[in-house]
């Protein structure tokens, strides 16, 4: 399948963003948050996914109604969602 110019453009945009992230890594390598300063970060509300049960269900609903790749695709899962 040929990749349309539109997508090429987007891939370029993605690569650009990747660079930004890599830059972020180097920049943030200088960040220092001492263990005793991490109290807030350890709170439940600061978890990356504070409600895994909710997000699993939401992503199943979204992926049965939208064409974006499944949010949880890396953890696998099947099903047609044929409705």
């Amino acid at each position: 399948m040929s990749i349309s110019p539109m997508i090429k453009l987007n891939i370029r945009a993605i690569i650009a963003r990747c660079y930004i992230f890599i830059a972020c890594i180097f920049l943030t390598a200088c960040v220092s948050v001492a263990p005793w300063e991490r109290g807030n970060l350890a709170k439940t509300q600061m978890e990356i996914d504070p409600y895994p049960l909710q997000s699993e269900m939401q992503s199943h609903n979204y992926s049965s109604r939208e064409a974006a790749p499944s949010h949880k695709s890396s953890s696998g899962g099947g099903g047609c969602g044929c409705y």
Binding site: M1, S2, I3, S4, M6, I7, N10, I11, I14, R17, C18, F21, C24, I25, T28, A29, V31, S32, V33, P35, W36, E37, R38, G39, N40, L41, A42, K43, T44, Q45, M46, E47, I48, P50, Y51, P52, L53, Q54, E56, M57, Q58, H60, N61, R65, E66, A67, A68, P69, S70, H71, S73, S74, S75, G76, G77, G78, G79, C80, C82, Y83
Partner: protein, 904 residues
């Protein structure tokens, strides 16, 4: 491991001790507590794929309900799509570093779904039908005619009468078809291992539907750097799916599926479209702590899919136009439905970024997310979402959430297509003559304009009496696009959704969670807006409730000094546990100490199959045909099997030592298949006919039980308690089969409805005794229906059961049990007050109930020490010994009960 150095306090403490640490921990512990808390961080913050931390069991129920689609005035009596989803999952630690996860999800959906899109102005589409002269609904009519003007704009028609009303009407409309309930089941398993600054996980599972089966596996890992301020995550997965779509009996003859001729097989009178699909996924991500109050999480994922990527139930309407008509002022279009054709390969790239900021004044966290995905089908998407996680004291947390999504249309998406050729026309020979075929001898061809002036290939005139028919050629598929789909999920649109999540942490490691979300899709909300497919706009809501149990491994030594932890760990062994009855016994034991709490899960599988029975004897088909139903309609079908599964969550609490209260929500699912009886009368016009390979499935919330148990006697070796229980009619009793072949399916069989539909009284009296390794007991139980009838007009029969059992401890942790049971069940009273097709004995109230004798064989396991101390497991098989059925019923094969429980 570092994570375990966190301060342990009371048993069942909350996973994150921070709020107390900052506020209430004594000063001398503060530094230690903070340091420990920081050590907790990596496991919580950077879990690769699933929740780390404590062992945990979750149950969740959710309901998805869609709103009605806009059919622009066409009658619509179909129920919109709804789905009931049950989910259970858990995390268990083998060691501090080695964990096992599992999950099970079951969803049953039913309702109306779009099969294709046509111009609104066809004479088919959602074709109204009448009952007693009144329009009550519409049938999907995939093939139809449309009148077009010179520029191919449809000329409007009345949506009810289908008469031309003049004027151009360019609107499209979804053609809706209903579906009987269907169930999907998914199970997945995972193992994870943690090092000090790394983690690995592997997992896999499968998903099963009648028409779609997939298996998947994945592997992932995480590396921590920079004192765990930076983590890199990576993962890959593979999913292999097999599609075996049973094409709709009703619509299949009208849907063109030439392109899939090689993939369609016939079985039991059904056409089955087969396909395979493979999906590969890889992703890499980064989590970075930015400040003591902020972090970001970002990742890039790539998905490669190949094979059968279509939805086999979606058709695209192609309007065939005779090129000769193109210069006419009015053109007639021949609307034909084709199974959609998507490319066989899809590559998708997705980029996710999430920023999380702690908002100090509110002790809240703000989550901001953005997601971009692009693919080679042209579907580029943007997702923005924001949520605010606000603890509001007393263990409550409120989280409002908003999300916006926009996608571009797939390059091959069209509501419908035009093709400038005839769908089917008479063949013309090289001399420009129409070709005819002799119906009595298909090798003979004739030529001529009409049937009455034909010549043979030698130019000799043919007699009038010859039976000639036009030789037809169908469309040239080379003139159609390679790929087309009118599945509105591939259209351009935007969607806005919002909702709240409310969670409450109770004491004793129990947490409740409830969520609600409302979602609305509109083509006009697309970024850079196409906005031309508003006919597919819809909305839905999802409501869910979950309960989560933290199970604290009991053998970990109490760590730290932060008070009061040592007594808690002796819990599992210090209790004087009574022996538990076999798994098939409900309400069979009580908690002993005031304040105790028990959470459990009970699974029951009831299997009927084999021969049809009448009383105690097998019965032949002809007898059932003649006598199993009624005088007006003879029996035509009987079940070949029926499986019923019940999932029940047991929650039990002891406010005092002599009184326990219980709450037991249930979730039911059933499936059955039918066969035509030998000697069955032919189908009656206007009566539902069961056809094809597919059986029936139902599933959703069942009845909810609640009760109080009262201790009457408790002396060494002997205990007696009474149970006063009720069941609330939360299970549906008005599930219907879909309308097929222009005939309403009506209510599904009594036995496939999910509840009793009435408030029921469920008392029982239990005696249990034990001496050394021996234990025994007896229980009398009953079900008394408290109402005359349910909303569908009938009520299930009352029930009485007497059972007695004996047990012997093979090991101090393992008990074998044997049990005898007698059950009397009354027939169903009254009858359906709505239409039911009455196709077999299972549709008649008198063919329910009877007297049954069973023997049960079971084992109970009580884990006394080690990491899983306090867990109890039970398994019992109940084998029918003698059955005396009321009327005509399918034989019983047995019942399996499995229980898990944990006392806090």
């Amino acid at each position: 491991m570092q994570r375990n150095s966190k301060p342990r306090r009371q048993r069942g403490c909350q996973p994150i001790p921070l709020p107390e640490i900052t506020s209430s921990v004594k000063p001398r512990n503060t530094l230690q507590a903070l340091t420990s808390a920081a050590m907790v961080l990596p496991g919580l913050l950077l879990s690769p794929g699933h929740a780390a931390g404590q062992d945990r069991v979750n149950f969740q129920y959710s309901r998805y309900q869609e709103g009605e689609r806009n059919l622009f005035g066409a009658p619509n009596n179909l129920k919109p799509i709804s789905a009931d989803v049950l989910h259970g999952s858990g995390v268990f630690s083998f060691t501090d570093r080695f964990k096992f996860t599992f999950g099970y999800t079951q969803d049953t959906w039913s309702g109306a779904t779009p099969v294709t899109t046509t111009p609104l102005a066809t004479d088919g589409g959602n074709r109204p039908y009448t009952v007693n002269g009144v329009v009550v609904g519409a049938s999907p009519l995939a093939n139809s005619q449309v009148l077009l003007d010179h520029d191919l704009n449809p000329i409007g028609r009345d949506p009810i009468t289908k008469q031309l009303v003049g004027g151009i009407d360019t609107r499209s409309v979804l053609v809706m078809s209903s579906a009987s309930p269907e169930t999907r089941r998914q199970a997945n398993f995972g193992l994870s291992y943690e090092w000090n600054e790394a983690a690995m996980n592997v997992g896999g599972g499968f998903s099963r539907e009648r028409d779609y089966q997939s298996s998947f596996g994945n592997i992932g890992g995480r590396l921590d750097f920079n004192q765990k301020l930076t983590s890199v995550k990576f993962g890959g997965g593979y999913t292999s799916s097999e599609i075996g779509a049973i094409l709709d009996h009703d619509s299949s003859p009208y849907i063109t599926k030439q392109a899939y001729a090689q993939q369609i097989v016939r079985r039991d009178g059904s056409e089955i479209l087969r396909g395979d699909r493979k999906d590969w996924v890889a992703n890499v991500g980064l989590t970075q702590v930015l400040t003591k109050n902020a972090l970001i999480d970002a990742n890039v994922g790539y998905t490669h899919s190949s094979g059968f990527l279509e939805n086999p139930y979606k058709a695209t309407s192609i309007i065939f136009i005779d090129p000769a008509q193109l210069n006419n002022s009015l053109i007639s279009g021949d609307v034909r439905a084709f199974i959609e054709q998507r490319p066989n390969i899809r590559n998708q790239i997705a980029l996710n970024a999430k920023y999380i900021q702690y908002i100090s004044p509110f002790n809240a966290a703000m989550h901001l997310g953005y997601r971009l995905s692009v693919d080679d089908w042209g579907v580029n998407t943007h997702t923005f979402d924001a949520s605010w996680v606000q603890p509001i004291g007393g263990g409550w947390t409120l989280t409002p959430r908003i999300r916006y999504y926009s996608q571009d249309s797939a390059s091959f998406y069209r509501p419908y297509l035009f093709s400038q050729q005839a769908f089917s026309k008479q063949e013309i020979d090289s001399l420009g003559r129409k070709v005819w075929v002799d119906q009595n001898n298909l090798t003979k061809q004739y030529f001529g304009e009409t049937q009455f002036d034909l010549v043979d290939q030698n130019g000799n005139a043919v007699d009038f009496s010859v039976n000639a028919a036009p030789k037809m050629t169908s469309y040239d598929s080379g003139k159609l696009p390679d790929h087309f789909s009118s599945d509105h999920r591939l259209a351009g649109f935007g969607a806005l959704s919002g909702g709240v999540i409310l969670s409450k942490t109770l004491g004793k490691g129990v947490a409740l969670e409830a969520g609600f979300e409302y979602y609305t899709r509109a083509s006009s909300m697309q970024i850079g807006g196409g906005g031309s497919n508003s006919f597919a706009d819809f909305d839905y809501y999802v409501a869910n409730a979950a309960i989560k149990f933290d199970i604290e491994p009991a053998t970990l030594p109490p760590m730290g000094t932060s008070g009061g932890s040592s007594e808690s760990h002796s819990h599992a062994t210090s209790h004087q546990h009574h022996k538990i009855p076999p798994a098939g016994i409900m309400f069979g034991h009580m908690l002993d100490k005031a304040g105790d709490f028990m959470a459990g899960y009970r699974f029951m599988y009831n299997w009927t199959g084999g021969n049809m029975m009448h009383g105690t004897q097998t019965v032949n088909d002809q007898t059932i045909v003649d006598q199993g139903c009624s005088d007006i309609g003879l029996c035509r079908f009987v079940p070949t099997f029926m499986n019923m599964r019940m999932h029940m969550v047991d929650l039990m609490y002891a406010p005092t030592h002599w009184l326990n209260v219980m709450l037991m929500p249930t979730f039911m699912d059933m499936d059955m298949n039918l066969r035509r009886l030998d000697g069955a009368p032919p189908p009656r016009p206007g009566v539902h006919e069961h056809t094809g390979a597919a059986g029936h499935e139902t599933g959703a919330v069942g009845d909810t039980y609640f009760s109080s148990m009262i201790k009457l006697l408790d002396i060494p070796g002997h205990r007696v308690h009474a149970n006063l229980g009720f069941s609330a009619p939360t299970g549906k009793v008005d599930i219907e089969l879909r309308r097929i072949a222009k005939i309403d399916g009506g209510l599904i069989h009594f036995g496939m409805q999910l509840g009793s539909g009435t408030w029921d009284f469920t008392p029982s009296l239990t005696y249990a005794g034990e001496y050394n390794r021996w234990s025994w007991g007896t229980q009398f139980s009953g079900i008394k229906r408290l109402e005359e009838q349910n909303k569908s007009g009938y009520r299930l029969g009352d029930q009485f059961q007497a059972t007695t059992w004996g047990g012997y401890d093979l090991k101090h942790w393992l008990t074998a049990t044997i049990r005898g049971a007698y059950t009397w069940q009354d027939a169903i009273h009254r009858d359906f007050n709505k239409f039911n097709a009455r196709i077999g004995p299972m549709d008649f109230p008198s063919n329910y109930g009877g007297q049954f004798f069973d023997m049960g064989f079971g084992v109970n396991v009580r884990i006394l020490g080690g990491r899983f101390a306090g867990n109890q497991l039970g398994l019992e098989w109940l084998q029918p010994i003698r059955s005396d059925f009321n009327g005509y019923q399918l034989d019983r094969q047995g019942m399996l009960s499995a229980t898990w429980s944990y006392e806090f």
